[in-house]
Amino acid sequence: MRLPALLALFALVACGGDPGSGTGGGSPSFSAAAELAAVQGRCVTCHDAGSQRAARFVPHAAPSLVGIGTRATAEWLNGFLAGHYATDAAEAADLTAFLRERSGVPALAAAGIGGGQIDQGGRLFAEAGCAACHAQEPAGLATKTDLDHLAAFLVDPRTTRPDLRTHDFGLDGSQAQALAAWMLRAQLVDAGDAPPASGLICECFEMRIPAEGIPEVDSVAPSFRGRADTIDIQHRTRNLNYALRFTGSVQIPAGGAWTFHAGADDSAWLWIDGEMVVRNPGHHPFQVRSGTVDLAPGWHDFALLYTQAGGGDKLTLEWEGPNVERQAIPSAALSARTETLVPPTFGAEIDATAAARGAEAFTARRCGACHADEGFTEPAASPSLDAVLASSTGACPGATADLVAAARPALSAGAAARAPRDELHYRMLRDGCLSCHVRDGEGGMSAAAQEALVEVEDLGEEGRLPPDLTKVGHRLRRSWIEAVLKGDVDARAYVRARMPHLSDDEAVAYAALFETVDAEPGDEVEPAFSTEAAVEGRRIAGNDGFACIACHAVAGFRSTGPQGMDLAIQHERLKPVWFREWLLSPSVHRPGTRMPTFWPVADDKAKAQADAVRVWLSLGNAMPLPKGIGGSDSAYVLESDGERPRLHGAFLDGLSARCMAVGTPERTHYAYDLANARLAWLWRGAFMDAKGTWDGRAGQLIRPLGENWVTLPDGPSFRAAGGAAAKVIGHRLDADGYPIWRLQVGAASVEDQPRPRWSAEGSELVRRVTAQGGGVVLVVPPADGPVKAIVDGSPVTTGELAIEDGQTVEVIYRW
């Protein structure tokens, strides 16, 4: 098997000396490269190796051959097989005939692509770091397949290539199409001669849809861009507040009056040749609006804009005209007509005789042992592994001599399970981790691949290259490593080289291995929490301290300089001992780093200050912001100035039209529903975007920014003993500007002040309630819900709390 990736591995082994000692401290005789050769050679598939070796050298899954003939050309298959295991071109042609006969007729199609899509794909190839493993010129790809098949593969590689454990780069449909267009750029034909490609360009825009008028979709970047053969909502990227735009041309078969019927929930507008033909505006359930226009036969410019604010979403477009009954517009009559990629055509004929010879060769060469797709012939029995190893030739009809030679040391020596350090090293080699990352001085990107990477922030090489993974299990929490590998978090958005997402099992296994191999005793002992330390840590991070905010974002707020890694995630990400080591002497740990050395001497005071920063960071995304950061580029995003709360009156989605949201310096916020006398929402982090309330005619239903958003149970917060309804009758503001809500509940006057407080668990809301003139019942969240109500250190299990006349009660809401 001579795949480029494998060759690259051999090259790496050759350059790197003995990779077996790479991770340091592993078994002295261990060779990760040999292990990998044994696995990639799939030796134990055919040869009985005993249970220990069978478990150690579990073979890679082989590519699926199901439907191979429908997505790859005969020419390409011939070429590939000639270089794979076939002995010569004639045998390759036989095998090709056999595979094509089995897998059905080819189904490659020309594809219209938008202008600039090829360039976009080229940029993505370079930025994403594809060149770490792949050649710039994808040999033979343009003669192999078409845009749709390649794009589908890029989105979901493992369906046809189950061996690719680490190739899920989280590409969306439009990125995959662009990347595929770039890889297939040799298929580009002069647009003038191209057959019209079917499909329109479809773009999805995630944006708040105004109550009236046509939204300016070009003010936001599309969240999807690709081809669409039908006009519907399948390319939406969410189901609320989005717009879809379809552009291209429509082919009118016969001249005359054509009527277009656009059905939309909520809105749609159709333009033909730039003239608005159908207008279906407003937020409403599905309704159809029609328009008629006289059109000459031939291609006409076509643009359709659809918007969805809330509720159900649906879009249809039908036409009727001379000799055409009302119906959906056929795909063939819709075309982006920009650029066209034309794949090579197939010879339709399959030589039956050659296919029969191919079948024999397939069996003789035991191809079905690896390509175990349903229906392939069971291979004949093979000699045991030890028998093969004992023979001097090692010749194998299913593996090259080089591979056999590379695998031999591992197969001869390996029996028991690998030691953790060896296992980790082997896996990193197997999964290509070392093609991008350095660990213990081994691996890393080639100079050429590094050159292709882009620098989006002025953060030096740390801002551009995938990180060094030396001692990563000592530095990062196991849970964070797991989340990175699953693709749940991305701390280095400025590194545009893409990290593949691993399966949950793989991520868990890797995180456990890093922990086992790298962790040191006590590296997770946290400094003690105190409010004083949190205040001091916040000061140090701000402009009155070391101004960490000059290079680090905080809780999503932009730094004042380059946008270095967000500080708010560091407590979750870094282990405490490493955090202190790193802060105190960054240049020792990473020579050349841009991180300044703030403490010339790492004395006790320095350690205490570093720990104070750690304590402040323990508040997570809801942390109080340090001085000098905050605010927003948007005139509408509201945040406390760090001194006083922000108050925002608005229509809140799902609550009522009379609500006040309170955004605090503690960055722990709540919304009070005045119409329903109810503490309704809690959340943390970013506060509110007032655009829906302050922009244009406004009046939008608003939801919070931020995170940890919970909605408390429906119904008023209070009731009187006699069942009288609670009514908000105003509010006072305390000296710090926090509202104290005043309610009338039957005979009782109630004061209700929710005010956040920090604790070692993060932040919590303390609700201080006083009743005068009568007793009331305070309704608190149920014990089994996401919010715990705690009084005097004990959870309230009954869902309510009696407050006597004259009594003041403090209830802590923790979530």
Partner: protein, 475 residues
Amino acid sequence: MVMLSLCLALLPQGPADDRFVEIVDLPQPEGVVLEVGGILARGQQLLVSTRRGEVWQIDDAYGDAPRYTLYTEGLQEPLGLLEKDGWVYVAQRGELSRMRDVDGDGRMDELETVSGGWPLSGNYHEYCFGPTVADDGSLWLTLNKPFGPEPFGKADWRGWAIRVEPDGSFRGVAAGLRSPAGVNTAPWGDVFYSDNQGEWCANSKFAHLQIGDFHGHPHGIDSCKLPESLVEFPGDVPSGILIDEAARTIPHYTLPAVWIPYDKLGRSPAGFVWDTEGAFPPYEGHVFMGDQYSSEVMRLTLEKVDGRWQGACYPFRRGLKCGITRVAWGTEGSLWAGMTNRGWPSIGPAKDGLQRIRWKGETPCDLVEVTARQGGFTLRFTTPVDPETVAPASFAVRNWTYKHHSSYGSPPIDTKTLDVTAARLSEDGLHVELDVDGCTLTRVHEIEAPGVRSAGGEELWHAIAWYTLNAVPGA
């Protein structure tokens, strides 16, 4: 750019305005957005509520460096302020509240709900205007009707004037309002409101709010059936009839005191005040009203004929920087104009802010008041006019009516040019009696005096008025 050139085209011989009244900007700090909803002018200080829910206390408002303090925020579209009994009353979308700053640090300390309970559908256009104190001491508010989505369900009392009772409950006193952006109490105690042209509102208007009246818009009339209503249900409201027929046939239908002809004098009138103290001396007792589109302050006069108020409107001062929502008297003979054009177009370069119009002292020769008389009108001028220029040919009179219908506004219907048969100047040179053939009840009468000159031979500052003739004195 289109708006700007339109603005220039509409301006009369503008520079002359500066001879009599000047416009002074209120300096506004960077980052402060003053989308004015309410103005309270007290001494050297302003309290300004904004559509963003903020209330700003602005000290030294007449100096070069006013000081801004955020009095409070988080209110919902506070579109009116009123000082009473040591409290600042504020009209929010869903409630009438009152606020005070107990410790005098410029920040509000407490807010009480005075009245609430009128529902909101969650539509942006459900504004609440006022309050104003009626002669019985009660507080009146006007409630806008929605346009478009009503996510929390259709709400009662939209398009109503309501009266807040001492116990905080309210009564619906008048129905059929559309976009009643101004409401205020006359010096003699009657409450008036202004409305904006649109569906069921043939033209912008200025109307007396009387208990039980229906002003023509059917959106909220189902609320007539609620126990709090003081208006009888008017029944189905027909669309497409002329105003005189509407007045005759629709139960409780009320004619406005003054129609303010669309595009001849603004488009969207809003807040108004009476000049009770002669801040603009020749116009003492008159109404000054801002327009949200044309960024001008217009003037109105009223007279009571046959038991009902009617009168005329006149241009006064154009050229402010943005659409005007609120006006309030300041010191130094000046009128504050609070502005915003968020959500609609307006003439002028700004999107929000405050300016004031300052009286400079010189009295222009101006057509100051038109009143009705049998067989015509009496025109009064601020200073004597040249007798040589007073003749029928110096005047032009036209009249028209409107159509009451569900479409957006009505063009002038059945416009007629009337014959001026005589023009008699009084001995003091200040009054002209015009005899006019064909004056017709319920119609708007456009009266121009293009040929009249001052005793000194100058053109009049303004020479046009629109008089709404609902009744003729002594007829």
